[in-house]
């Protein structure tokens, strides 16, 4: 008996597996309807933007919203930067062997990570009003009486707590062996930290840090509740004057563009910085 004969008798040829992607399954129909819904929604926003019937609407609110956008961007950048400095301090404190140094940093971090940003911003902006005399004598009233400074302060403190958590986690992922190898080479503690631990921790921290920046961009919209005219603030102002709800959709699109750009840039950055780790 030839092998072909056996194969034919014992294993009759099966029908080919159904080709995926052809034919109209329920999933495909639902999928196409949903994608079409998104496409229509996007088109509607774009059409409204391009051919707005009340011609001066865009002229009146467009530039202001762009100004707001600019404000959102720099408030976020400053807060991230200041937060980073404070987070470095918090990280150093948390990693110190002394309990007395650790405790205040830990308390700060749990408080700011455990309460809503919007409550923190109220606490700083309105709460400082209770100590007007004190701040005036201390010569700090110009700072606390300005909503923007208060917003930046609240954001910086908030992001510092989250960033510190990221850095601490990243430093802890660097294995003890790396440190020991540094010691075996006779490097000083400073050199071990700077040349061995931090560069490796930075790579680990990159992705969560990107997420944190995105969260800060989104969180910065909260500044609008204490009258800061950032993108959200300008949007709310435009809405309160025109009652045209579409401005919120434009704001949503603008935020989405910032966040998506940031995400893409961060992906490229990460790709470049970790290219030596790929095989």
């Amino acid at each position: 008996m030839s092998k072909a004969y056996v194969a034919q008798r014992i294993l009759p040829a099966k029908a080919p597996p159904p080709t995926a992607g052809l034919g109209w399954s329920a999933a495909k129909i639902i999928g196409i309807i949903l994608v079409a819904f998104w496409a229509l929604a996007g088109l509607a926003i774009f059409a409204n933007f391009a051919f707005n019937t009340e011609g001066d609407f865009l002229a009146r609110y467009g530039p202001r919203m762009l100004q707001g956008l600019w404000k959102t961007i720099w408030i976020t950048l400053i807060s991230i930067g200041l937060g980073m400095l404070l987070a470095a301090l918090l990280t150093a404190m948390r990693l110190s062997p002394s309990r007395i140094i650790q405790a205040p940093a830990a308390a700060f971090m749990t408080f700011f990570r455990g309460t809503p940003l919007i409550a923190q911003i109220f606490l700083i902006y309105y709460g400082s009003g209770e100590f007007t005399d004190f701040f005036k004598t201390a010569g700090l009233w110009w700072f606390f009486s300005d909503a923007i400074y208060c917003a930046i302060l609240a954001f910086s403190l908030n992001t510092a707590a989250y960033q510190a958590q990221i850095y601490i986690g990243a430093i802890r992922t660097v294995s003890q062996g790396q440190r020991e190898a540094g010691q075996a080479l006779g490097l000083s503690r400073m050199a071990i930290t700077r040349k061995i631990v931090l560069p490796q921790a930075a790579i680990t921290a990159l992705r969560p840090l990107g997420n944190e920046i995105v969260l800060m961009v989104k969180g910065s919209a909260i500044a609008s509740v204490i009258t800061v005219l950032d993108l959200m603030g300008e949007t709310r102002l435009a809405y309160s004057r025109s009652f045209d709800f579409q401005v919120y959709l434009w704001a949503a699109v603008l935020y989405l563009v910032i966040v998506e750009t940031l995400r893409r840039v961060w992906d490229v950055l990460e790709e470049r910085l970790t290219r030596h780790l790929k095989r």
């Binding site: 999933a27 639902i30 309460t115 606490l123 949503a252 966040v259």
Partner: protein, 235 residues
Amino acid sequence: MNEALTLLSFGPNGWGDELAEGLWLTIRLALTTLPIGLILGFLIALAKQSDEPWLRRAANIYTTVFRGVPELVTLFVIYYGGQTLLQTVLGYFTNTYIEVSGFAAGVVALSVVFSAFSSEVFLSAFRGIPLGQYEGAQALGLSRFQTMGKIIAPQLVRLALPGLSNLWLILLKDTALVSVIALDDLLRKTSVAVGNTKEPFLFYMAACLIYFVLSLSSSALLTQLDKRANRGLTR
């Protein structure tokens, strides 16, 4: 000090009972959002790992949009947009004016955001389940529905729990945003108290501490849940 305690006490001179009412609304809001957000997130995760590219595309757009737009903007879009939409649709039938309740708008907005994030958690949990589990279920002759309910879902809970716990803590804090659409949650009640007593620091600090206690107690509870979910694995 005594004065502060009087202001925070329950009763005619204190704002304790008002704050408690606000806290109750905050908790109700979070607890109503949670199941809706979880179910929606689970369905979106299923769509994302479907074989059908159109379904995947639709789900991916959903998460990109609601993870990228600030929660506050989503809330306003749903609150005002929902109102406009409802008015337009109703306008074809009747002249009655129905107002969208802040609570409903809050639940929808928070659920939508929660589901966008939770779908990612579910998706990575799905990826943590070995293919052999599906094949084993198939070998036992279980239907797709049975496989999901009896084999995959119980393991999924364990894998998704840490991520979902984080999202729950974020949700608790995000509920505070509804105060801007005049919904009487804890933060809004606090602002009312501040308006009446002119004691902003005391009351906002109290509100922060209440949120803090809420976070701490739920994370303690979630740690217990996590231990329970992992009890089959610990030695």
